[in-house]
């Protein structure tokens, strides 16, 4: 192992909402420079896991560390400033701000001066191919653009790790392919690890070298996409769930 405990590391994370146990012991390690897929049937606890990793949800027990430093007790804002950014399932853009301002806000939030923030925003808009829409109101963007702007906003924080919560949902095949390339390029371009939560297996297979499977609040398996496809337990978890079974495997 290189740095003793580099990366974003969750150890034995439990989360209970009253009597309902959403997570029952998840171990997950996200390394610098990789795209890790986080998959699992509906209700497996994927979004809860993202919330724990980004400070939106306190773990009942267990701990999350970033490069060896515990993130315990830091709220979402401080986790974001420490270097873990996220996007949201429903993009949650600042609808009445322009696209550029959406990105600027995050760059300002990471401590940048106004001028640098604007430069950062413009560079990111170029990267996602939305430079021409910089002055549009975010609320008037088409769906696919909204998603990409959401990802760009997370990256505008210049994070060490970025967590993308179902960025491809609702996209058509062509959009998915473009998105896949974009995501796969994040580690090299931004020196940033990616956790990709996604239902669309095509995107996961295309963007990730490693996949972590959650089922029923627990880590079920981890390995290459091919290994996961061949894994009996993973098959069973998915086939047991009617929603996604056929689409996945």
């Amino acid at each position: 192992m290189l740095a003793q405990d580099g990366g974003l590391h969750a150890r034995d994370v439990h989360v209970a909402f009253g009597g309902l146990k959403a997570l029952k012991g998840v171990d997950l390690k996200l390394r610098q420079g990789e795209v890790l897929g986080l998959i699992g049937p509906n209700g497996a606890g994927k979004t809860t896991m993202v919330n724990v990793l980004t400070g939106f949800q306190a773990a009942t027990t267990g701990d999350v560390t970033l490069d060896g430093r515990s993130l315990k007790g830091l709220g979402p804002r401080n986790v974001a400033r420490a270097g873990v950014a996220r996007s949201f399932q429903a993009a949650r853009l600042f609808r009445d701000l322009t696209v550029r301002q959406n990105l600027e806000v995050a760059a300002i939030g990471s401590g940048k001066k106004r001028k640098e923030a604007r430069a950062k925003a413009d560079a990111l808009l170029d990267w996602i191919g939305c430079a021409d829409k910089a002055a549009m109101l975010a609320g008037s963007l088409p769906y696919g653009d909204e998603r990409r702007v959401g990802i760009a906003r997370a990256l505008a924080l210049s994070p060490k790790f970025v967590l993308l919560d179902e960025p491809a949902s609702g996209m058509n095949d062509q959009e998915c392919d473009e998105l896949m390339l974009l995501i796969a390029g994040i580690p090299d371009k931004f020196a940033c690890g990616v956790l990709l939560i996604e239902h669309n297996m095509q995107v996961v297979m295309g963007a990730c070298r490693r996949v972590h499977v959650l089922d029923n609040g627990k880590s079920l398996a981890e390995g290459t996409p091919a290994e996961m496809r061949a894994n009996d337990e993973v098959r069973r978890a998915y086939l047991g769930s009617k929603n996604t079974g056929s689409q996945v495997i």
Partner: protein
């Protein structure tokens, strides 16, 4: 000791009055996230329905001249109709607005009703001879309790019991509770929104009518602004008790009334004038320590 018991009775009487107003506000808040400032104006209008609109300071009686069962019915009907009208005309079109917009709109409705009433009755305070038989004090074990206070407490307690039965046992009551817990879910389960909300407003009008009668019986005066302070206290009471929780609203109303009487009785005289500031500060304090109030309604945390 006797003095203390007297204070306790005062506290209980005022507390139960606030509890009634708070209950009305809590009811409407529960089903449509609306903090209805106009509640105070419902009760003002109900009180003014007792007299004929004139500029006179001692106006001739209107509903006030009727035998008491008819008088009560007349005032209640007036309040209920006004409450239903405001719901239909002003609040229904805004049903999906955010709470802040709703709050502003209820401010506007209140402002409208208050000044419309002023157009009809002029802004002068009026006196009205009513319920003089209630004003006589009754002697119980050496404690003199004004009849009005006894009536207030009796009415409040029976109404609270009535409400519990209504909400727990009747179909419409159960639907209202369901709507207060989770409005979207209740709709999915077939609760008819218009009906439940209208019923909630009718109940709040009913409570306003009762409170206005009790207030007039206590003070014998009419004032355009007579509804403001009870509704403000009651409104803060619902916040303290937990917005959306009916038990919380009643409890909060009671607490605010009791606190206010106790502060009045036991604060050093120099500070007594600032009593209300203490009650209002209590609101901010409770919100800071328990943002959802003392008896929170079902958690409505935002899902990320």
């Amino acid at each position: 000791m006797l003095n203390f018991i007297q204070v306790l009775f005062d506290a209980a009487a005022l507390g139960s009055l606030y509890a009634l107003v708070a209950l009305a506000i809590g009811l409407v808040f529960g089903i449509m996230r609306l903090i209805n400032f106009a509640q105070g104006d419902y009760l003002t209008i109900g009180a003014y329905a007792l007299v004929v609109p004139t500029a006179s300071v001692t106006p001739p009686l209107l509903f006030g001249a009727l035998p008491w069962p008819l008088m009560v019915a007349g005032v209640l009907a007036t309040c209920i109709i006004v409450a239903l009208l405001t719901e239909r005309i002003a609040f229904r079109p805004l049903r999906n607005a955010n709470p802040a917009t709703l709050l502003i709109s209820s401010f506007a409705v209140s402002y409208f009703l208050q000044h419309a009433l002023m157009l009809v009755h002029t802004g002068r305070p009026k006196s009205i001879a009513m319920g003089s038989s209630l004003a006589q004090a009754i002697d119980i074990f050496g404690v003199r309790i004004p009849g009005v206070q006894l009536v207030t407490m009796t009415v409040t307690v029976s109404l609270l019991i009535g409400f519990v039965i209504l909400l727990k046992k009747t179909a419409i009551g159960i639907q209202m509770r369901a709507a207060a817990e989770n409005f979207q879910m209740a709709r999915l389960l077939g609760v008819r929104a218009n009906k439940v909300i209208a019923f909630g407003f009718a109940l709040s009008g009913f409570l306003a009518g009762i409170v206005s009668l009790l207030l007039v019986a206590q003070t014998g005066t009419l004032d355009i602004k007579m509804g403001i302070m009870p509704v403000i206290f009651a409104f803060f009471a619902t916040v303290i008790g937990g917005m959306g929780s009916l038990a919380g609203a009643a409890l909060g109303g009671f607490l605010v009334g009791v606190t206010s009487v106790l502060l009045q009785a036991y604060l050093p005289p120099d500070l007594r004038a600032f009593r209300d500031a203490g009650v209002f500060a209590l609101v901010i304090l409770v919100l800071l320590v328990r943002p959802k109030g003392l008896i929170p309604s079902s958690a409505s945390r935002e899902r990320v």
